[in-house]
């Protein structure tokens, strides 16, 4: 029974990973067609990707616009979450939340058409418009993550901080923010994944020559896909994996740094009065509570 369960799980996971494996193998194909299984091994696709300034610019544009949209959606998502938390009447709160979540529900093509209208009225086509439009698409993911985080957040921690003499702002920066940060990071990454892989917004609200990796790949679909496009798709995945790694390392490092600072503060506060052993125990406890 257990073997059957594990087998079904593996089959479903294989179904999810299969296309990425195909893309990876096809990126070493020579020539201009996707064939599977690949019949030769060459790095020609990679060479022509990095040798072509248009593709390099598209890579930079994807990274910049994806990063910009992710940062903007984190700001928007946390602001909206905080503002919704302050609204007292429950039905109104639910309605506002529903509207804020709607970019997740309304088909992207509808938003793209609508945004293109708005942007051309305002004469605002370009990278900034793409960032703004994609940030709106990514905001619900951040909002969901912040709501999940605040659900796990223990409000007595804030009271404890205040009781021990920390200011309101101090409590916010030292207690609430570090606890929500990992969730914001995941929300930002999801929103970046949406932004990097979406060709519609660059196509509908971007500048006429505002190529990103996703848009260029989508345009090449009409003229015939080459192994360079396949490499471009892998670059989008690479971009996201790189940023996920950096975000994870940053969060872990930041927390470790914070715990070291806390340990130092505890040691400094206790050293003159208390016994060294007690100070040691407390700093250890502080270390432990932060790195958990």
């Amino acid at each position: 029974m257990k073997a059957v369960r594990f087998g079904v799980l593996l089959a479903l996971l294989a179904f999810l990973v299969l296309p990425v494996a195909v893309v990876l193998l096809c990126s070493f194909n020579p020539g201009y067609a996707l064939t599977f299984p690949p019949h030769a091994f060459t790095l020609a696709g990679y060479r022509s990707f990095f040798g072509n300034p248009t593709w390099r610019q598209a890579l930079a544009a994807s990274a910049a616009q994806g990063g910009g949209a992710a940062i903007l959606s984190v700001l928007l998502g946390s602001t909206i979450a905080a503002a919704i938390g302050l609204v007292r009447r429950a039905p109104l709160r639910r309605l506002l939340l529903a509207v804020a979540m709607s970019p997740m529900i309304v088909p992207v093509i509808v938003f793209a058409t609508a945004d293109s209208d708005l942007v051309s009225k305002l004469r605002f086509e370009g990278a900034l418009a793409v960032i703004a439009a994609q940030a709106v698409l990514g905001t619900p993911y951040v909002l969901l993550m912040v709501l999940a985080a605040s659900q796990r957040f223990d409000p007595t921690l804030v009271d404890a901080g205040r009781v021990h003499g920390d200011s309101g702002l101090g409590v916010h920066w030292r207690i609430r923010w570090p606890l929500i940060l990992p969730y914001l990071g995941v929300g930002g990454l999801l929103s970046m994944a949406v932004a990097v892989t979406d060709p519609l917004m660059p196509l509908f609200v971007g500048a006429p020559d505002g190529e990103t990796l996703a848009r260029k790949t989508a345009e090449d679909l009409q003229n015939g896909i080459s192994s360079t496009d396949v490499v471009a798709s892998l670059m989008m995945i690479g971009l996201l994996v790189l940023l996920a790694g950096a975000a994870a390392a940053g969060t872990v490092g930041w927390r470790r740094m914070g715990s070291r600072r806390l340990a130092r503060e505890v040691r400094a506060a206790l050293a003159p009065t208390a016994d060294r052993a007690v100070a040691g125990d407390l700093t250890e406890a502080a270390d432990g509570s932060r790195t958990m």
Partner: protein, 274 residues
């Protein structure tokens, strides 16, 4: 009370108004405009006079319904299996793998599946023959579109279901086990009913993903199986007819409205009822 929530309300109104309400209001307005910016019903008249649009709309909703049902069933199955994994590192790795379809762009997802499905002597061809189906059953057919949409929607249905099911574990499932219920009974009578909200939300989001899907349906299903988003994109990008594109967008928005209201209401309830 009302005075205290004034400032947050203004912030919310500004943000949601600019990002969400303004574009949609403008979409509705443009759909009633012609090239010389005067009011007209011409775009909608063109829609009703062209039977293709109606056919495509019906096809879009049929295929989306089938794909959503299949993706929801598979997603709940996957979520149950994931929640049962005892090793937390294994579980974290598996959860990351569930998110894989989100990082591959649509064009490549479509082409990778096309390559897999047209290879008649490969994995898919053998599998189809084992099931007693012709090897071309999944090549440029509506079934191929459904398969691609299931792939696209599986993370969307799996992750909320997983959250719902793992949240439902704990004292309630323990109590059921103490009272002598087997694992299947616990799943059917305790875990799944408690996770019904998140599962439904996942299903609605996956339905809207299907309704709005572009590139993938026409690549996998072939030109005779295109869905409505293709025509919106065609009108806007190829024909530069923003009026027609907006009218088509309104058509999608209005006909999908029941599902959207259901989903938005569900999302609001699931994420605020704590």
């Amino acid at each position: 009370m009302a005075a205290r929530s004034g400032a947050p309300l203004r912030v919310l109104a500004a943000l949601l108004g600019c990002g969400i309400a303004a574009p949609l209001v403008l979409l509705a307005r443009t759909s009633f405009r012609d090239d010389s910016a005067s009011w007209t019903l011409a775009n909608y008249r063109l829609l009703t006079a062209t039977p293709t649009y109606l056919h495509v709309l019906v096809r879009t909703y049929l295929i989306s319904l089938v794909a959503t049902l299949a993706a929801t069933v598979l997603g709940v199955l996957l979520a149950v299996l994931l929640a049962r994994l005892a090793n937390r590192y294994l579980r974290a790795t598996a959860l990351c793998l569930v998110a894989v379809p989100a990082v591959l762009n649509l064009v490549m997802t479509a082409l990778a599946w096309l390559v897999l499905l047209q290879d008649r002597r490969g994995l898919v061809g053998h599998g189809l023959r084992l099931l007693g189906l012709p090897p071309s059953w999944l090549y440029l057919t509506p079934q191929a579109t459904v398969l691609g949409l299931i792939y696209l929607c599986l993370p969307v249905t799996t992750l909320p279901s997983y959250v719902g099911i793992s949240r439902a574990r704990g004292t309630l499932t323990d109590a059921a086990a103490t009272l002598g219920a087997g694992r299947a009974t616990i799943l059917r009578t305790v875990s799944l009913p408690l996770a019904a909200g998140p599962i439904a939300v996942g299903a609605v989001i996956s339905f809207t993903v299907c309704v709005g899907a572009y590139v993938l349906p026409e690549t996998l299903g072939g030109p005779q199986n295109t869905l409505i988003a293709f025509f919106v994109q065609d009108a806007a990008v190829t024909q530069f007819n923003t009026g027609l594109a907006s009218a088509l967008g309104m058509l999608v928005l209005v006909t999908a409205l029941p599902a959207l209201v259901l989903g938005i209401g569900g999302l609001g309830r699931v994420s605020s009822a704590r």
